[in-house]
């Protein structure tokens, strides 16, 4: 078939160039296949075997690991904490980020770039290092947060925020909100800057107040991007590991154990009353979590499609 414009086959007409083409693709293709695609299916296989991590898994145990996970109260506890973590973090973080973005989305405000960078800074720092530093700040010895409170006579013994089963998860959520708020600030700023100025001008001509402009112009205009932002925040919070591992390691008494730390402790350490790693159980729990994440991803795609349809974009 003749195409309208000459085919932009810059190289593929020559066999030698085809060979080069495949050679150029090979590293990306092989590494992705090995470390991204195969492991997704590989973890399914491990979940059906007893495996101690040495050699090939040989002892087939059927659905036993899945039953084990389903019957494990620690797993349901970890799942509950993971859901709480996301359900509290996402709305609070997005609300704060949106307020901050609305304040910063003012071309006349001086130093917008400075503030943007300042509030974004925690994002570029390692969650593990942040966790260790926060341990010192919140620590149960008489320093950091406790020292000034003791001096003021408000408390007599140092606070033990992270050692308290009822407070530990809340502290991790608070640090989590602080740590990645900058992402959402930037997303919201980018969305706000995409709102056409004419819409505001029209609203002003109609005599809309500032609040009315926010409710009737700004928020509806950024709604399609909001959908993406919400789902990215949910998916990000479901993967939380670094902060929990370094701040409490799931403790005290598993009160802040997330599914990610649950899986880790079964796979690489002895915990939950286990003396040995249990890769099969860890894999079964991973699969469950992957399905949940996959479900959210599908929901996200659906939500994006719906919001596009509403806007009349196909």
């Amino acid at each position: 078939m003749a195409r309208k414009d000459p085919p932009d086959t810059l190289h593929a007409s020559h066999l030698r160039d085809s060979v080069w083409g495949y050679l150029f693709l090979a590293p990306m293709f092989i590494l992705t296949l090995t470390f991204v695609i195969y492991p997704i299916f590989g973890s399914v296989r491990i979940a059906f075997y007893n495996w101690d991590g040495i050699g090939n898994p040989t002892q087939y145990v059927g659905w036993r690991h899945f039953m084990g996970v389903a019957k494990d109260p620690w797993f349901w506890g970890a799942l509950k904490h993971t859901v709480i973590y996301a359900a509290v973090l996402v709305p609070v973080q997005l609300f704060l980020a949106l307020i901050l973005a609305l304040l910063l989305n003012n071309s006349r405000l001086k130093g917008v770039n400075f503030f943007r960078a300042l509030y974004f800074m925690p994002v570029v720092t390692s969650g593990a290092v942040v966790g260790v530093v926060i341990n010192l700040l919140f620590g149960n010895f008489a320093s950091g947060l406790s020292a000034p409170l003791i001096k003021l006579g408000l408390i007599s013994t140092p606070l033990d925020l992270l050692g308290s089963p009822s407070l530990a998860l809340g502290c991790i959520i608070a640090v989590g909100i602080w740590h990645t708020l900058g992402y959402n600030l930037i997303y919201f700023l980018a969305s706000l800057q995409a709102v056409p100025e004419e819409l505001y001008e029209a609203a002003e001509v109609d005599g809309a107040s500032k609040v009315q402009r926010l409710v009737h112009v700004t928020l509806p205009s950024i709604r399609p991007m909001m959908v993406i932002i919400v789902f990215m925040a949910i998916l990000g919070s479901l993967g939380q590991f670094d902060l929990v591992k370094t701040m409490t390691d799931g403790g005290p008494y598993y009160a802040s154990d997330l599914v990610s730390t649950y899986i880790y402790s079964y796979a690489f350490a002895s915990s939950h009353g286990m003396s040995q790693s249990n890769y099969g159980l860890a894999s079964a729990a991973s699969l469950f979590m992957s399905l949940m994440v996959f479900g959210f991803t599908m929901l996200q795609l659906l939500a994006i499609k719906v919001s596009r349809k509403e806007r009349g974009v196909s």
Partner: protein
């Protein structure tokens, strides 16, 4: 122009907002300032000072202690080696793939692009066990290369996507002269295309630098059997577990870990923030 925005009242409220944002911003980055101060305090000073950010008599030897006694010098070199390799291999492999997928009509190209899009939406992050198994089979267990190949492998899809998108925007003419001269396939990639895609190289480099430097999970898993392979982040976690009372040393180690990444961010923040913003614009 909006009415009222130029009035004196509006200017005053903007100034008030600026001051408010400054104060809030100070508290926002306070943990980092406090860490920096803590790294220069004496152990007893650290204990007594609480939230103070002014160390009385700077204890520079805390850094030497962290570097040598705390082994953070070793961890620093591990982090630098891993990050350098991850960043360069990511740029090399993903630009090569992006070049083929965007500038040629190689048979099978469409299939690969479809696979890339599907993979972008597959659930990630809970596949460490099979990855561990593969690393074992490859004989890379207990080497820094385990961390490098896992990091590179995990990031290639996204960066290939970035390179592909950017290279598509180049006009077709750029290769034509070189092809007339009979330049070879790798030559055109290296001397014609790569010099034209500087901005996207910078974006990919920044993202993979920060991702690799801050990665905790991968090096934690692969240094479990060999403490000499720890990176800075893993080293800090382990050090805290073993010497939880060496507060000033932990602060010095944290500063050593945070300074490179915050410095890079401050210098290149515009590119980084624009790259992040692109995620919702696209």
């Amino acid at each position: 122009m909006r009415a009222g925005d130029n009035s004196r009242g509006a200017a005053a409220s903007r100034n008030a907002l600026s001051i408010l944002l400054c104060i809030a911003g100070f508290f926002y980055v306070f943990p980092f300032i406090w860490t920096l101060a803590g790294s220069l305090k004496t152990p007893s000073g650290f204990f007594a000072d609480g939230l103070s950010v002014i160390p009385g008599n700077p204890q520079w030897h805390n850094y030497a202690d962290a570097w040598i006694k705390g082994k953070f010098g070793l961890y620093f070199f591990n982090s630098v080696f891993i990050t350098l390799c991850t960043v360069s291999l990511t740029i090399l492999f993903s630009s090569m793939a992006g070049y083929v997928l965007s500038r040629t009509l190689l048979p099978g190209r469409k299939v690969v692009i479809t696979l890339i899009v599907i993979t972008l939406f597959l659930p990630r992050g809970y596949t460490i066990l099979p990855v561990f198994e593969i690393i074992q089979h490859l004989g890379l267990l207990n080497t820094l290369w385990a961390v490098i190949v896992v990091q590179v492998g995990g990031g290639l899809i996204f960066s290939t996507f970035l390179f592909m998108g950017y290279m598509q925007t180049l006009p077709r003419e750029v290769e034509e002269a070189a092809m007339m001269d009979g330049a070879s396939f790798p030559r055109i990639y290296w001397s014609v295309i790569m010099p034209l895609v500087g901005p996207i190289i910078a974006t990919v480099a920044l993202f993979s630098f920060i991702g690799s430097w801050n990665d905790f999970f991968t090096p934690l898993v692969f240094s479990a059997g060999k403490p000499e392979l720890r990176t800075l982040a893993v080293g800090m976690y382990a050090f805290q577990g073993e010497n939880s009372r060496d507060w000033t040393l932990i602060c010095a180690a944290a500063t050593i870990t945070l300074v490179p990444v915050i410095t890079v961010f401050l210098f290149l923040q515009r590119y980084f923030i624009e790259g992040v913003a692109g995620a919702v614009k696209g």
